[in-house]
Subunit: 225 residues, 2 copies
DNA sequence: CGCCGGCGTTCAGGTCGTGTTCAGGCTGAG
DNA sequence: CTCAGCCTGAACACGACCTGAACGCCGGCG
């Protein structure tokens, strides 16, 4: 069984390598996100241990990118903060399990074995909100039974809203996540794209699932409200 | 440390009880969801072990209901299927952790201890005052079961009052916090907005939870007086 | 190499919700 | 009774939001 450990704290990384090798695993180590991503793409690992706080590319991004590229190797994430939303986010971006630091070594091994027993989860995450269904990996969207064609940008906006379903997300938040932290163009672009999503997903079906909250932002309603 | 185990398989439930009591926990057992819900409401447990597949009320529902009612006891869910969406759903409905059956007994204990160490944490991102419930993050408000639509300004006024529930807040204080330190318009605007909140939250429900204290300010009553 | 179509983005004009002001009526304290 | 403080319905103005259209970039294709 071959493992990849992506962890920037050298001491912890080396400890894990030794311990896991003693357990009979073959272990590779990457010290930052970019390296980790590259190695995960190149080699067929049986599981990946992935820290969230990483230089280069952070854990969420590594995970999301791999899933996007169709790499479904089981991933166990290491989250630093306790009681935060990290865990939910970890699972949302396609991780299969998570562990909060500090963790017991025995628990890590137990959960790794469970993950690998489960096999390479060839299970593309599908988000469902009401009768809206979207497969981020395949980049496909259905309203009920009929598939709807979206452009790349429309897709990622919808995905962002879907992951925060029921919540109000501000325009600034949308710009930061769907566009880029440094995007400094016209925020009106969000309105334009929300409009396009409505034209494709709501109007033809007589719905209004994307609602506007003036002064607050937008919200994808849970039910077909 | 007091635990509640909600599990319908008698054999497993008894095994857990014995094992956990041997670890020094005080353990109560419920064999279906309805009982579990009732017991969780009545007693201040330090943590709850909750099976998903249950007669009566299923685990998701038990968890969601408790969270809705403001019970934030740490919950560890037991999911039966592997590699399904159960885990995400579990965390989404407000569970703090999950374990996939079959699980190692040692892992269960380890994770329980971690949960309890974390404390009755999970800050209720939701404010509750009487049967008034508001989720500042999602920007949503409910009176009992019915959601009420508020504008941005109404929302922040209500949030301010809710965070000072039971206390009298002066008009000046409200102006400083909900509007702006330098706001120099007509203070009457506070009266207008209090009136609007009453129209939306009190009047339609035959309540009067926002009371006026002449010469002093306003107060959001704890109970639905 | 140049045409073409799709896509992301910008722009301008129109709509309508929301924040604010105002004036007159109401209420409670002294 | 009187007055200050509070309530409230109506009116207004601003700006957030919507939308159709145009522009430029890029990749595919002849």
């Amino acid at each position: 069984m071959r493992l990849l450990v992506v962890e920037d704290e050298r001491r912890l990384a080396e400890g894990l390598r030794q311990g896991l090798e003693a357990e009979g695993f073959a272990v590779d180590v990457a010290f930052d996100g970019t390296d980790g991503l590259w190695m995960a793409r190149e080699h067929p690992y049986d599981a990946i241990v992935l820290d969230i706080m990483l230089p280069g590319t952070n854990g969420y991004r590594v995970c999301a990118t791999l899933r996007d590229e169709g790499v479904w190797t089981p991933i166990l994430m290491l989250t630093a903060k306790e009681g935060e939303w990290d865990e939910v986010e970890a699972l949302d971006t396609g991780a299969d399990d998570y562990l909060t630091k500090p963790f017991s070594y025995a628990v890590l091994v137990a959960r790794l074995r469970a993950l690998m027993r489960r096999g390479p989860a060839e299970r593309p995450a599908v988000l469902e909100v009401g009768d809206l269904r979207l497969d981020p990996a395949a980049r496909r969207v259905w309203r009920g039974d009929t598939e709807v064609a979206l452009t790349a940008r429309e897709m990622s906006l919808l995905e962002f809203l879907a992951r925060r379903r029921g919540q109000t997300v501000s325009k600034r938040e949308i710009l930061d996540h769907v566009w880029d932290d440094e995007f400094e163009g016209d925020p009106n672009i969000v309105e334009v794209y929300v409009g396009r999503l409505r034209n494709k997903l709501d109007r033809p079906f007589g719905r209004r699932q994307i609602s506007t909250l003036r002064g607050a932002g937008y919200r994808l309603e849970d039910a077909g409200g």
